[in-house]
Amino acid sequence: MPTETNGLASPLFSSDDAERSCSVTLQFEGQTLTVPAGATVAAALLLRGAAPFRTTPVTSAPRAPYCMMGVCFECLVEVDGKPGRQACLTTVRDGMVIRRQLGASALASPGEGDTDER
């Protein structure tokens, strides 16, 4: 499993139909990927061999999608700066910027964007 590189491995899955419908361009860890329109982020990234998707908060173990239906939370990624998004429930969109979810979700610094007028 390519845990130490942002590069893509040989995908576990392929889809001839999907390849014909590739029309969406997104960024994954700084690389440009062309993926099928209408696909979920999880399916699109799996087609491109992008595993792991995340590392766990407690032991930093590498993880990849498992249930593909919103239940297991193994496919979490950062989408357009928002951490902890379920890739299997998110549809790809042109220009989307995706990063691996490393450990627990980060919060904005306490007080940030907080006008605090009382």
């Binding site: 902890g84 627990a104 919060l107 907080d114 009382r118």
Partner: protein, 377 residues
């Protein structure tokens, strides 16, 4: 089964802690646990190890709670050594959060009263700026808060697991899926406990720690335990990087990073479900308290039933008509776990003294027509 057997009915945090105390005091103990169908508050509670606000109007209970705080570290240390389970005890102090000046004034009056009765629980009222200096994540709608350096929190599921593992390590007998239907005092002394499916256990002493089941069972051995269910709903967020180093009364970040958010107070009988309206109000309050939670994902919500007495305070009593039968019930089974193990366990086993003024906790107090009770949570 040895004649001096102590039978504990109920394997939640109250029963398991008392049984653990019985076993470590050297008595032979059998724990009868109802199993997964139980209305088990131990699996749904918030996990605070809390002292501020406990015991208002009841100095003996205030002292009971104060002592329990000091028993916690020894209990966590002992469970870790015996079972290898780290219950994630943290006692860094804790905050209550207020949203209006009226709430702040009422809080201060209550805490000042508590400070001057019983053990003298230390506290400090903090205005918005003072609270913000200690909890930078609070939002502009927070009026202020109160601080108590003795408060803390723990993982209640790990506590329940550790107590059961500890019982196993001490060779206690634990039977699960036992729905106790009858507790009978034998004329010659001792007790026979019968389950709905016809199994029986006998012992010299019996301790009722069956939560909401105590109401029915206590009456069978001459005890009065008028407990009623009160529902609380709580939410759990996804795991987050640490941002909240102290527990607060309605939000705490666990050792693994999730944030537990509470809570509702609902009189809905034995319905332990969830409602959209309660989840919405809990989430709104959490975001008002800590605005940085607004984008965070919730992963679970649940309801659980508090075990409430008419005054919200616990019952501990030995039966006069059936000596050797005890009833124990508390809404604060987590905060009081150390006291239940180290004080109540030896007492009910007959191997330690009765705690002083324990009669103040007798369930008979609810039968006094000259007293009235309120359990505003």
């Amino acid at each position: 089964m040895p004649k001096e057997e102590v039978i504990v009915v109920g394997g939640g945090v109250v029963g398991a802690a008392i049984a653990f105390g019985v076993a470590r005091a050297g008595a032979s103990v059998t724990l009868l646990d109802q199993g997964d169908i139980a209305d088990r508050a131990s699996r749904g509670n918030f996990g605070l190890v809390w002292i501020q606000s406990k015991g208002h109007g009841f100095p003996r209970y205030a002292r009971w709670c104060r002592e329990a705080i000091d028993y916690w570290k020894p209990l966590a240390t002992e469970l870790m050594a015996l079972t290898g389970v780290d219950v994630d005890l943290r006692q860094p102090g804790g905050f209550w959060i207020g949203f209006s000046d009226a709430e702040m004034r009422a809080r201060e009056a209550m805490l000042e009263g508590l400070k001057n009765t019983g053990p003298g629980v230390p506290y400090q009222m903090l205005d918005h700026a003072e609270l913000k200096a200690r909890l930078p994540a609070i939002g502009p709608k927070v009026a202020g808060g109160s601080w108590c350096p003795l408060d803390g929190h723990v993982n209640p599921l790990k506590l329940l697991h550790a107590l059961h593992a500890g019982l196993k390590a001490l060779n206690a007998q634990v039977f699960s899926s036992v729905d106790v239907s009858e507790v009978r005092h034998r004329p010659a002394g001792g007790f026979v406990v019968k389950s709905a499916d016809g199994r029986t256990w006998s012992g010299a002493r019996v301790v009722l720690a069956a939560g909401l089941g105590n109401k029915r069972l206590a009456a069978q051995v001459g005890l009065h335990a008028p407990v009623e269910p009160n529902r609380g709903q709580v939410l759990i967020t996804e795991r987050l990087k640490p941002f909240l180093p102290y527990p607060t009364n309605k939000a705490r970040q666990t050792a693994e990073g999730t944030v537990q958010l509470g809570y509702s107070v609902e009189d809905v009988g034995f319905d332990d479900g969830t409602t959209v309206s309660a989840i919405e109000s809990i989430a709104k309050r959490a975001v008002a308290t800590f605005p940085i939670l607004s984008d965070v994902r919730l992963v679970r919500a649940w309801g659980a039933l508090r075990v409430m007495t008419p005054d919200g305070h616990p019952i501990y009593q030995e039966s006069t008509s059936c000596p050797g039968a005890f009833v124990t019930t508390s809404h604060s089974g987590v905060s009081l776990a150390g006291t239940h193990a180290y004080v109540v366990g030896p007492w009910v086993a007959g191997l330690g003294p009765a705690p002083d003024a324990i009669e103040e906790f007798a369930g008979d107090r609810y039968l006094d027509p000259s007293r009235s009770f309120s359990n505003a949570h």
